[in-house]
Structure formats: C-alpha cells, structure tokens
C-alpha cells in the first residue's frame, strides 16, 4: 500500500477530487497548508508599513492506494491539478505498512 500526498492549488481541489473519484478512489484526507517555493507570495500594506507574505495557500491531500494503482493515481492527480503556471505543487509517495479502517478494524486493501 502507498500513501500519495499531493500539495496543490486550493481551487484545483474539486478537479482533483473528481479525477480521483472517476478513477475509483473512494476517499481522501484534506488539510489546509501553505507552500513556500518558486511561486512568489504577495505584499500587503497597513498604514504605510509593507509586509511580504512568502507563504502561498495550498491544499494538501493524502490518498491511500493499493500498490498497483500508484502510478495511475499520481497521473490522475497531476493532470487534474495542472494549470501550467508556477506553484502547481508536488505529488509524492511513501510506502505504507499497515492501514486499518477504524469502524470495522479491517486491514490492508479492505480498509480503503
């Protein structure tokens, strides 16, 4: 089992979710995040004092998938989240050793 984590632009969340759903992924966990990278932040001015905001709002998705689906899931996320402009984000995967569904105690692929 793998955990696919994606950090993407917030307004792309719906597209990514739709892509995953049509691929058959049944669930995911979403966190608000802020990204720092090539994409420039913005500046704000309050009574003449200027502040540079370097963090850019992002959403961070975690999707547990079976091993054989990893590449397809990555591709689905990447193509759904892409706008082509800087700051589209990253997708990465880490190996998962165990997954449990809390409600039933099911483990492994059945837990998804």
């Amino acid at each position: 089992m793998k955990l696919v984590t994606a950090v993407v632009k917030p307004f792309k969340l719906d597209d990514v979710r739709a892509a995953l759903t049509s691929f058959g992924v049944k669930g995911m966990t979403v966190t608000e995040a802020n990204g720092y990278g090539r994409q420039r932040g913005h500046s704000e001015v309050y009574r003449g004092a200027e502040y540079q905001v370097d963090l850019v709002p992002k959403v961070r998705l975690e999707v547990l998938v079976e091993d054989e689906d990893v590449n397809d899931v990555i591709d689905a996320v990447v193509s759904a989240a892409r706008t082509g402009s800087i700051g589209d984000g990253k997708v990465w995967t880490v190996p998962v050793e165990e997954v449990v569904r809390v409600r039933t105690g099911e483990r492994g692929p059945d837990a998804l």
């Binding site: 704000e44 001015v45 003449g48 200027e50 502040y51 963090l55």
Partner: protein, 441 residues
Amino acid sequence: MANPQFSSGDTAWLLASSALVLLMTPGLAFFYGGMVRVKSVLNMIMMSFATIGVVSILWVLFGYSLAFKGTNPFIGDLSAVGLHGLLKTDSGTIPELVFSAFQLMFAIITPALISGAIADRVKFGAWVLFVAVWTTIVYFPVAHWVFYFNGGKGGWIGDRMGAFDFAGGTAVHINAGAAGLALALVLGKRVGWRRDPMRPHNLPLVLLGAGMLWFGWFGFNAGSAVAANATAGVAFMNTQVATAAAAMGWIIVEKIRDGHSTTLGVASGAVAGLVAITPACGTITPMASILLGLLAGAVCALAVGLKYRFGFDDSLDVVGVHMVGGFVGTLFIGLFATSVLTGGAKGLFYGGGFTQLGKQAVAAFAVAIYSFVLAYIIGKVIDKTMGFRVSEEDELSGVDLALHAETAYELTMATHTGRSFAGATPVGGSMTISEDRTVTQ
C-alpha cells in the same frame, strides 16, 4: 432664534435621526461584507465607506442645492452651492443645515446600496467614479422629484403629482435596485457563478449589519416626519412591526420551501420589510403594516431566485430585495393609504379607487426606468473607457488583495510567521526596504 416656529424638540430628533441614518451605511457595509467570500469582504466594505466620502463632498458642493432648491419640477438650482448662506437659516421648525445633513445621509446610502449587485469584481476607481456621476445625474434629480416640497412648486412626483413616498421607497430603494440591475448586466457574472460555492463568509457580521440597519432605519423613517410628533410615532411603530413581520414572512417561506429557517433569511426578511415600509410608514396603519411586512418578506424571499431564472448575477440581491421590496411598499400605499394619515387620499381598499394606486405606479416606474437607463449608460461608458471590472486573475485571487493590498483576517498565530516586515515610508525620508531591514532592533 427669530423663528417662532423653531422647535428644539424637532431639531433634537432630526439630529439624532441624521446620526442614525449615517450609521446605516456602515451597517450596510457589514451586511454586505459578511455575505461575500473572505477574499472580498474589505472591498465590499470599502465601497460603502468611499461612497460616504464622495457623496458628502458633492452634497456640500452642489448636491443639496440641486435637490432642494428652486421651482423646477425636475431639478433644483445652484442657489445654495457650497451650502452658502445656510449657517443660520431654518427649514420649517429646524435649522436648515440639520435638514440638509439628514438628507445627505439618504444621498449616501442610495449609491452604497448598489454595490451589492456587483460584489467581488469591480475596479475601485471605477466604482468611485460611478458613484460621483450617478449620484449627480440620477440621485440628486430623483430626490428633487420625490422629496422636495415647495407648496406645489417642488418636485413633480411628491409635491405636484401627489404620489406618497414617506421616506424613500422610490428615491432610495427602487432607484438603487434599478441601478444595481443595470450594473449587474454591464459587469456580467462572476467567474464560477452557479458553479463555485459563494456562501457568506461571516454570518454574524451579516446579522450585525442587519441590526445596525434596523436601528438606523428608525431615523430614516421616523426622522422623515421632520418633526418629533405623532406622524413620527406612526412611522416608527409601522417600521418596527412591518420589519418584524417581514422577517417572519421570509423564514416561513424558507421553512416551507427548503425545510429550514435560516439566519440569513431572518436578516434578509428584516431588510426587505424595512425597504417595503419605507415609502408607506406614514400613510398606513400598524395592522396594515403587519400585512405589508408579511407580504414583502414572502415576495422578496421568492424574488431573490429570479436571478437564477434570468441569469444575471445580482450578487447580493439588490434587485430582489430593494427594487422588489420598494415596488411592493410603494404600490401597497395605493391599496391601504388611510385618510386619517394622508389627510385626504385613500387607498383602493379604503374606498379611494385607483387614483392613488396609479400615482404610486407612475412614481415607481418613472424612477425605475430613469435610474436603470442612466446607470446602464454610465456603466457602459466607464466600462468602455477605463474598464469597470478587474481581471479574471484578480477576481480569482480576490479583490481585497488585488485592489487594496490587504487581507481581512489573520486569526492564527502560526501563519503570522509567514510574513515579514518589508519597510515603511517615514515622512520626508526615502527608506528602502533593505536599509529598513538592517535597522531593525
């Protein structure tokens, strides 16, 4: 005071009323501001505050004179430009400057109301220009038509034709609603309308705005008696009960239609009731006001769906609440005006026939059409020249940041740390950012 008619009591009430009506515009700013998404709340608020700024200045320069002087039925004259010569004069039982200040607050809130129709997508400079032009060529004349009484030599709608509009159902609400519709058409729909969620970002703020509006509206309506007398009392009571009834009317419709009564509904219903009772509060009874309120609440609750049917993005329902509510209240007078209060004219249901109803309809449509046409033209001209709408990119990232370089809230301590001080411009010094950073202690 040389004036034997002068009344300190009337003056006291008009001073208080003027303050109350001023408060309505910040109230409106929060009512509207709470309804938009978090990325444009500041711009929404700022449109109202900038309107206060622009209109107050125009009023002193020439607005009061254009609205409340002269003998022409359509427009005032320039005899009181700069409020010249009014420091000691009276207007009836009160100082003329008090009357002028009271009326100024109406001139402010009317254009401010329009901003709700075009939330989230307006260039700030274009808005300021629109307010200046529309107030000058639409509001000042229409106020003259409706509010200027001069013994039969005043405005054509109120003083000459004899249509009733106690506190501005036509001059304020239909006027603003029609202009809002025009601008919603000129600017077009927001990106993602009917697809993306555009829910209110802060409902307590909406309710705060509604509360401020309700409170201030007592000045608006009961102050329009221009005296602390029985008429003011009638207007006050009617305002209260119609508003209450309209709040109930709206949430009853919601309960039946959607299964839930909502907080936004109770606030919206209250505002719809305030709008509808505005023209009628001096000419109908409290019992009729309950009926008007229930009707206005229910009708407006349904009317806000019109935009989905016809496909215009009147973002915060200026049409559905102010134009529709204004029509309901203005026409209702033609049905329920009581001669005890009008001193003569009666509504249809009091045996007055269709005469008054006809006058009411003429008043309502005249204002609606004039305002719509002019607002559309002004809007189009601005759009073709300087542009009225922000870029799609700015709209998506949010006008607060794009136009005002601000964001509304910073409620968590952690994200603070993503910011850094980047310099300030001290008086008389050109301090660069990097210098500034090294100076930190």
